[in-house]
């Protein structure tokens, strides 16, 4: 019964993928190529622009970006979503892609770094310093630990709690102020932008995209900050390996790095 069902499901999927496959061939024969890039949500702004410039430099090429949480993207690819390039917000999810056999082991390259900052609403400043995060009554919104940025936030709080000035119960006090663990970093920023929360912890790249008149930024000292490395890789069964390789080279080129820097990322090769 169960195996029959599975057979039925598989054949249905097969029909679907075959259908999609022929569609793909049909479109490429008309002279244009489509490059599908699966990129972490935090790369939305930067990769949209990189995609546009890559299209301008390669005639007949169309770049289609799919932005979501890195872990969602890995699962989607594992379930058969077609992609040519994968840019992850952390090494953990790239490792998962390797484990799933989606990416060659030596393919991923770190293309950019990111670090954390505290954001607060500009007009309602209950939180003016890192210490204020632990002040009773402050409403703090963090990213959920299930997503990379939430994981980094916990690491930052652990490191900060070692500073005698903040006190070793700093993490505990901050967590007591948390009103919500958002499912992605953009949602954290949005709640702060709307003024629903007094503070949130996001990537510097997210803070860079926030409206200046609504959000202010508090830097986190290097001593407690966590640097996130973003790896990029070509998907093993990509039908457009060459184009995908060129795309990755473009991301790593001086122009690609400049765009990423404009969006608040830390270019690779430079010490933080």
């Amino acid at each position: 019964m169960c195996s029959q069902l599975r057979y039925l499901l598989l054949s249905a999927l097969l029909v679907l993928t075959l259908g999609c496959g022929t569609g793909g061939i049909g479109s490429s024969s008309s002279g244009s190529q489509t490059l599908t890039v699966f990129a972490a949500a935090s790369l939305t702004g930067a990769f949209t622009q990189i995609g546009k410039e890559f299209e301008a430099a390669h005639q007949g090429v169309k770049v289609v970006n799919s932005f979501a949480g890195s872990q969602d993207l890995v699962e989607q690819m594992h379930q058969g979503a077609p992609a040519d390039v994968f840019a992850s917000a952390d090494e953990k999810n790239m490792q998962k892609a390797i484990d799933y056999g989606l990416v060659e082991k030596d393919s991923p390259r770190t293309f950019v770094r990111n670090h954390l900052v505290v954001v607060t609403p500009r007009d309602d400043q209950k939180v003016r310093s890192l210490e204020d995060l632990s002040a009773p009554g402050a409403k703090v919104v963090l990213a959920s630990q299930e997503v990379p940025v939430g994981n980094y936030t916990m690491q930052f709080l652990d490191l900060a709690s070692r500073d005698p000035q903040l006190g070793n119960d700093f993490k505990q006090k901050v967590l007591a102020n948390v009103v919500s663990y958002e499912d992605n970093v953009k949602a954290v920023l949005q709640k702060v932008t709307l003024g629903e929360a007094d503070a949130g912890v996001v990537y510097s790249s997210d803070a860079a995209t926030a409206p200046r008149d609504k959000v202010s930024t508090i830097e986190i000292p290097d001593a407690y900050n966590v640097t996130a490395s973003y790896p990029i890789a070509i998907i093993k069964n990509s039908k457009q390996g060459d184009l995908a390789r060129q795309y990755v080279e473009f991301v790593l080129s001086a122009r690609g790095q400049t765009i990423l820097k404009q969006y608040g990322f830390i270019p690779v090769g430079k010490a933080k």
């Binding site: 499901l9 919104v141 959920s144 997503v147 919500s180 958002e182 499912d183 709307l194 003024g195 629903e196």
Partner: protein, 288 residues
């Protein structure tokens, strides 16, 4: 509505002798059965695929997990609250819509349907802009010291907003199908509005009303988009089962599958029981 259905089945049962009759009836409806099969399979297979992936031991083991049990408890109590609030505030509106004609009724009718077509995430944003700290009403509420976002109340508001139309629509139709002359007769006898409703309208419209309340409850149980935007995610406070499923999907598929199966089985069980109880009460009413 349901009463006539019951009758139809029973008359056809009488018309044929059970053994040979049933066979010819199946043959006669073979074409219809085949034509219905794709939709049935399309609805059933994904459900089976989900449950087949979740072994029973794992479901039981997961139930005792603190975060899972908190999500279940929160979902139970927010959805029950939502259903009660909807029944309390939706019934007068449904009665008004079913019994009276007035200017702007068409617009009000459309307004009631609006949450059904609005994407839940848009509903969440709308609620945030209304009840948020800087929202139209939220600002005033904040002055009174009442802050709604990130609280269980926000979960209830989000659920009510997206799920109330199911109850209101069903109750409107239920009340409209009750002959208003029955109410008028009661009114002549001097019964008050509430008594009229309770003794005449409700008993006749109750199948539709209870079915509507169940649809509202079920929709509230599955509510995700508006909740995560308006209420956020905090275990035990605003993390309902659907949100726990979504976040579980981010760590590993297994835990999300187990939670989804729990949700699926629980809703299936509750809806079946209520349908069965309703049928019982309808047939009993027929007998007496």
């Amino acid at each position: 509505m349901m009463q006539t259905q019951v009758e139809e089945i029973s008359t056809s049962e009488v018309a044929y002798t059970p053994s040979a009759g049933r066979r010819t009836r199946y043959l006669r409806h073979l074409g219809l059965i085949i034509a219905s099969a794709p939709m049935v399979l399309f609805l059933a297979i994904p459900m089976i695929a989900l449950v087949a992936q979740a072994p029973l031991e794992e479901i039981i083991a997961r139930l005792t997990d603190r975060q899972v049990s908190m999500a279940i408890a929160l979902s139970v109590y927010t959805t029950i609250t939502t259903t009660c609030v909807t029944v309390a505030l939706g019934t007068p509106l449904a009665y008004l819509m079913a019994r009276y004609r007035f200017r702007g009724k068409k617009m009000l009718d459309t307004l009631i349907d609006l949450p059904l077509v609005l994407p839940p995430s848009a509903a969440g944003i709308a609620l945030l802009l209304t009840f948020g700290r800087h929202g139209i009403l939220g600002e005033r509420l904040a002055d009174l010291g009442l802050q709604i976002p990130f609280t269980p109340l926000a979960v209830v508001l989000a659920q009510t907003f997206v799920s109330a139309p199911f109850y209101i629509r069903a109750t409107m139709n239920g009340i409209a199908s009750v002959d208003s002359s029955l109410e008028e007769a009661g009114m002549v006898d001097g019964a008050g509005t509430l008594r009229l409703f309770w003794n005449i309208t409700f008993p006749l419209a109750r199948v539709a009303m209870i079915s509507g309340a169940i649809m509202t409850w079920a929709r509230a149980l599955g509510e995700f988009g508006a909740t995560i935007i308006f209420a956020g995610n905090f275990p035990g406070r605003t993390q309902t089962i659907p949100i726990a499923i979504y976040l579980g999907f981010n760590i590993n598929l297994e835990s999300a599958v187990v939670l989804s199966s729990i949700l699926l089985c629980a809703s299936f069980g509750v809806i079946m029981i209520v349908k069965w109880a309703l049928k019982q009460s309808v047939t009993r009413a027929d007998i007496y």
